[in-house]
Symmetry: C2
Subunit: 164 residues, 2 copies
DNA sequence: GCATCTATACTCGGATAAGCGATGTCCGAGTACTGGAGG
DNA sequence: CCTCCAGTACTCGGACATCGCTTATCCGAGTATAGATGC
């Protein structure tokens, strides 16, 4: 029961792409730059970003001056979107319907909905997902601006300098 | 991001122990019986039940007529207790503080609390845990009694018959 | 000087290995019962 | 008939294998740029 490392990387990277976007419009950042920012393994980060592209969160351009950029605005991306893109849509608690193999078990019944324990776990899972979907990356960005006011510009500068 | 199989087994087994308890007082159920009820691998279920014993949820007795029984009443056990006993106390999203390795990163700062992304994820984790702690196994038991009224007695009978 | 073509360097994308935790299994330590022997 | 004792069967508990997924890496396909060449 541990969330993949990639989720954290993806969240931070999307925010970084947000800062970059504000700078110049067409600026796409290649994996190498994004990975260097946090000293992450570039090839593996690339793998995660591919998942975000498949989910329609990022768009990618190959070739020189290419890289990744946001496919939607930050206020149209929730943390849940990122989690689902990386981890998949499956719930944390996957009911394997063991009641089916117990006495009185019915092969035709869907115990994922009938089992009361499964219901309780699903309710908790829903609470988690709701919390993750209750705010957007734009909300987090705004909070960063208010809390660490110098940080956004510093990040923009870093990517600007790294470019040359 | 998947919950261990053992959580589901443990939840169902604790409920079963609840039914058994209502029958005769000193009745302890051995792993073999509890596993046979759902056709689970006995040795592995045993491993999970050991974790529940360490957590103080069950108590165990070795030797003939031994086995596991509830160490507390069902209304003093929440699904969260079971999850923590099996999975451990760690959050699903473990912030590895990648900001520390970024530009402007400070080795003295604890980014698990300072990082706004980490805060968002922790809030979601808290929502999940609150949902899991908001009801007890007694609540679930009562709901089973109301929804599947014949099921409790059938379960008790099964364990009773299996005993001889 | 300008257009075109070719070579080049850079990027993503998916196919391919390694490491670690969840899953699954086994045997030893300890305990209560059962049967028999002795008083 | 009662008591004591030894053997036995049963249970948990932790140590030992196996599997799958997360982690990590590499190379090929495609593209825009830069430079050279011809007009």
């Amino acid at each position: 029961m541990k969330l993949s490392q990639g989720v954290e990387w993806a969240l931070h990277t999307c925010l970084n792409l947000g800062w970059i976007e504000e700078e110049g419009e067409g600026a796409a950042a290649p994996t190498a730059r994004l990975a260097a920012f946090y000293d992450l393994p570039p090839a593996y980060l690339n793998k995660q970003l591919q998942a975000l592209v498949r989910a329609g969160i990022l768009s990618s351009t190959p070739g020189p001056r290419g890289g990744f950029r946001l496919a939607r605005r930050l206020d149209e991306i929730t943390p849940l979107d990122i989690v689902v893109a990386i981890e998949g849509r499956a719930e944390a608690f996957e009911c394997v319907q063991i009641l089916r193999d117990g006495p009185g078990g019915d092969a035709a019944t869907d115990y994922r909905s009938a089992c009361l324990i499964s219901q309780t776990m699903s309710k908790a899972d829903l609470a988690w997902r709701n919390a993750l979907a209750s705010e957007t990356l734009a909300d987090i960005r705004d909070r960063v601006v208010r809390t660490y006011s110098q940080s956004p510009q510093a990040t923009r500068d870093w990517f600007q300098n790294a470019r040359r």
